[in-house]
C-alpha cells in the first residue's frame, strides 16, 4: 500500500513537470504549426543555468527561487532570439524548420557538454522545502508536493491567461484559424514571438524546478523531448486541458511502467499514444489533426 501511494505521488509530480514542459510545446505547435525540436534543449538549458546560479556563479550564490526566475528569463530571451531571427524566416517550410531546430538542439547539447562537462550536476532541494510530511507509515517529501502545487498554479494561470484575457483570446483565435485571425486585424506574427518565448520560458522553468529530482546531465534534452511529444499527441495539440490530462496520464504510465515492467517501460509509455492515434487522431482534446 505504501509503495503504491508513493508511486502515485511520484507520478503526479512527474506529470506536473511534464505539463510545464508540454504546455509550451503544445501552444507553439498549435499556434505556429512548428515542430519545435529544441524544446528538450530549452528544458536542459534552463536546468543547467539554474544549477549554475544556485551553485554559485562568479562567487555569487543565488537563492533557489531567484535562480529559477533568472534561468527562466534567460531561456525565454534565447527562445525569442530563435523565433525572431531563424524561425521567422521560414514560415510554412516544415523541413527547414526541422533542420534549424535540430541544428540548434545539437549546438545547445554540445555547448552544455563544453561548459558543464559530462558528469551529472546535482541541485540541492531549496532549504525551506527539504522536510517531509509524515502520515502514518507514509513519507511525502515537501518538495514533491510543492512541485504539484506549482504545476497546478501554473495550469490555472495559463488557463486564466488563455481563457480570460484579450491576449489569450487572440492566441486562441490564432490556433483555430491563423488566416482568419490575420484578416480581423490580429498581429499573428507578434503572437508567435510571445508564445514562443512563453513556451521556452515554461520549458526552462520545468527544467530547473525538476532539477533537484531528476538532476541535470547530458542527454536530458533527448529524454524529455519525446515525452513532451507523446503528451501533445495524446492530449491534442494546442489544447491546454489536453496537455494537462496527457501529462498526468504519461506521468502515471512512466512511473508505474518503470516500477512494474522495467524492460518494456518505454513500450508501455508509447502505447496509449498509438491507441489515441488510431481511435482519435486529433488527440483527446485536440481541435485539429496535425
Amino acid at each position: 500500500m505504501t509503495f503504491w501511494l508513493l508511486l502515485t505521488v511520484n507520478s503526479i509530480t512527474f506529470g506536473g513537470l511534464l505539463f510545464l514542459l508540454a504546455a509550451g510545446f503544445s501552444l507553439i505547435f498549435g499556434l505556429m504549426r512548428i515542430p519545435n525540436l529544441t524544446h528538450g534543449s530549452l528544458f536542459m538549458l534552463g536546468a543547467y543555468f539554474g544549477a549554475t546560479f544556485v551553485g554559485g556563479y562568479l562567487s555569487v550564490t543565488f537563492n533557489f527561487w531567484v535562480a529559477v526566475l533568472m534561468a527562466t528569463v534567460l531561456v525565454a530571451a534565447f527562445g525569442t532570439l530563435i523565433e525572431r531571427f531563424l524561425l521567422r524566416q521560414l514560415p510554412g517550410q516544415q523541413m527547414a524548420q526541422v533542420l534549424v531546430t535540430l541544428g540548434i538542439s545539437f549546438m545547445v547539447a554540445d555547448f552544455c557538454l563544453m561548459v558543464w562537462g559530462g558528469d551529472p550536476v546535482r541541485v540541492d532541494t531549496p532549504g525551506s522545502l527539504t522536510g517531509f510530511i509524515r502520515y502514518g507509515p507514509l513519507v511525502f517529501p515537501h518538495y514533491r508536493l510543492a512541485i504539484i502545487a506549482i504545476a497546478v498554479v501554473a495550469a490555472l494561470g495559463l488557463w486564466l491567461l488563455l481563457d480570460r484575457t484579450r491576449l489569450g483570446a487572440m492566441i486562441r483565435a490564432g490556433v483555430d484559424d491563423p488566416d482568419m485571425a490575420r484578416v480581423v486585424g490580429i498581429r499573428v506574427s507578434q503572437l508567435f514571438t510571445i508564445v514562443f518565448a512563453l513556451g521556452a520560458g515554461l520549458a526552462a522553468f520545468a527544467g530547473i524546478i525538476g532539477a533537484p529530482i531528476l538532476s541535470v546531465y547530458p542527454g536530458l534534452d533527448q529524454d524529455m523531448l519525446p515525452l513532451a511529444l507523446v503528451v501533445v499527441i495524446l492530449g491534442g495539440s494546442g489544447s491546454l486541458l489536453g496537455s494537462f490530462v496527457g501529462s498526468i496520464i504519461i506521468g502515471f504510465i512512466y512511473n508505474f511502467g518503470q516500477a512494474l515492467l522495467p524492460e518494456l517501460s518505454y513500450f508501455v509509455l508509447f502505447l496509449p499514444m498509438l491507441l489515441v492515434l488510431i481511435v482519435r487522431p486529433q488527440g483527446l482534446f485536440g481541435r485539429f489533426v496535425p
Partner: protein, 320 residues
C-alpha cells in the same frame, strides 16, 4: 555524349578505383560508411524528398534490421538466414510504421514517426534479455557472398559499392517511373490526385515500403561493417542525422542525399579527429544551410553555378 553522362561515368570510375588512390585504410573505411549511409539517405529521400513525408523515425527501422541480423547470428543461424530475417523484420516494421503514420501528413507524420522511432529505441535500450541493453550485440564475421570473403577493408568497400550502385539505379528507375511521378503528384497535389482516381494512400504506402527496403539494406551493411549494434545507432540523433543528410544535400534530388551523407560522415569521423566540438560545427552547418541555401547543397550549388554562368555570358556579350 552529354555532359551528364561523362560526369556519371567519371564518378563511377572514381568510386571503383577509390581503394587505389585513397591514402590509407582509415579513409577507405570512411568511404564505405559514406556509401551505406548514402543508401540510407536515398531511402529516406524517397519519402521526405519525393513523397513530402518527413520521417524522423527511420533510424528505428535501420536499427531493427541491424538488431535482427545480430540476434539471428547470435542464435546460431547462418548469414543468409540473418539477412533474410533482417529484411523481413525491417519491412514488417516499415509496414506498421506506414499504417500508423500515414493517418496524417506534414507535422503529424513527423511527430508520429518520431514517437515510433523512440519506441524502438526504448525497446532496444530496455529490453535487455533480447537486445543486451546498452551493451548491445556483438557480431563475429561477415558473410562471403559467392564464396568471396569480405573481411578486408577493400573487399567490404567493393561489396558496399555494388549494393550502393544497385540501390542508386533502383531509385533512379523508381523516380522516373510512372509510380515515381505519381508519388510526386501526391506530394504536390494530393486532392487533385485523388480526384484523378489515384489511390493516394496506396501510393504513399508502397513508397514507404521501398524506403524501408533501402533502410533495411543499409542497416545490414552497417551492422556487418561495425560488427556491433547498440541503442545509440537508433536514437533520435541518428534519425535526425540521416534526415539532415537528405535535407542538407538537397531533398528530392538523386545526388543530394549522397552529398549530404558524405558531408555528415566526414564531419563526424574525420573532422572530429581534429576538432573536439564537431557536434557544434554540424549544428552550425545545418543552420547555415537553411539560411544560405534552403534548397540544399546540390540544387543550391547548381543555382549559383547557373547564375555565375549567365553573368559570365553577359560580360562577354554572349560570346561564350
Amino acid at each position: 555524349m552529354s555532359g551528364r553522362f561523362i560526369a556519371v561515368a567519371a564518378g563511377v570510375v572514381a568510386l571503383v578505383t577509390l581503394p587505389y588512390w585513397m591514402p590509407g585504410v582509415y579513409y577507405l573505411n570512411v568511404s564505405s560508411q559514406i556509401l551505406f549511409y548514402a543508401i540510407f539517405a536515398l531511402g529516406l529521400n524517397i519519402l521526405a524528398g519525393y513523397g513530402g513525408l518527413v520521417s524522423l523515425g527511420h533510424a528505428g527501422l535501420f536499427g531493427i534490421a541491424a538488431y535482427a541480423t545480430g540476434y539471428t547470428l547470435q542464435a546460431g543461424f547462418g548469414h543468409p538466414v540473418a539477412i533474410f530475417n533482417a529484411l523481413t523484420a525491417g519491412m514488417t516494421a516499415m509496414a506498421v510504421f506506414a499504417v500508423l503514420s500515414l493517418r496524417s501528413t506534414g507535422i503529424g507524420f513527423i511527430m508520429i514517426t518520431l514517437a515510433l522511432g523512440e519506441i524502438i529505441w526504448g525497446l532496444a535500450y530496455r529490453w535487455i534479455s533480447i537486445t543486451g541493453g546498452d551493451n548491445g550485440i556483438n557480431l563475429h564475421g561477415r558473410p562471403d557472398p559467392f564464396g568471396v570473403a569480405i573481411t578486408s577493408a577493400s573487399a567490404f568497400y567493393y561489396t558496399t559499392l555494388v549494393v550502393f550502385l544497385v540501390a542508386l539505379a533502383a531509385v533512379t528507375v523508381f523516380v522516373r517511373s510512372p509510380m515515381g511521378a505519381a508519388l510526386m503528384g501526391t506530394r504536390d497535389q494530393p486532392r487533385r490526385m485523388t480526384a484523378l482516381g489515384y489511390h493516394v494512400w496506396a501510393i504513399r504506402f508502397w513508397a514507404c515500403m521501398f524506403s524501408g527496403l533501402l533502410t533495411a539494406v543499409s542497416g545490414i551493411l552497417f551492422v556487418y561493417y561495425t560488427q556491433f549494434i547498440s541503442p545509440q545507432a537508433l536514437d533520435l540523433t541518428a534519425s535526425a542525422e540521416v534526415l539532415l543528410m537528405v535535407i542538407s544535400g538537397g531533398s528530392g534530388t538523386l545526388l543530394g542525399p549522397i552529398v549530404g551523407a558524405a558531408l555528415v560522415i566526414v564531419v563526424k569521423s574525420v573532422v572530429s579527429g581534429f576538432l573536439e566540438r564537431w557536434n557544434m560545427l554540424l549544428g552550425a552547418i545545418f543552420v547555415a544551410i537553411v539560411i544560405l541555401m534552403p534548397e540544399g547543397l546540390v540544387p543550391g550549388t547548381a543555382r549559383l553555378w547557373r547564375l555565375a554562368w549567365r553573368r559570365a555570358r553577359k560580360d562577354t556579350g554572349g560570346e561564350l
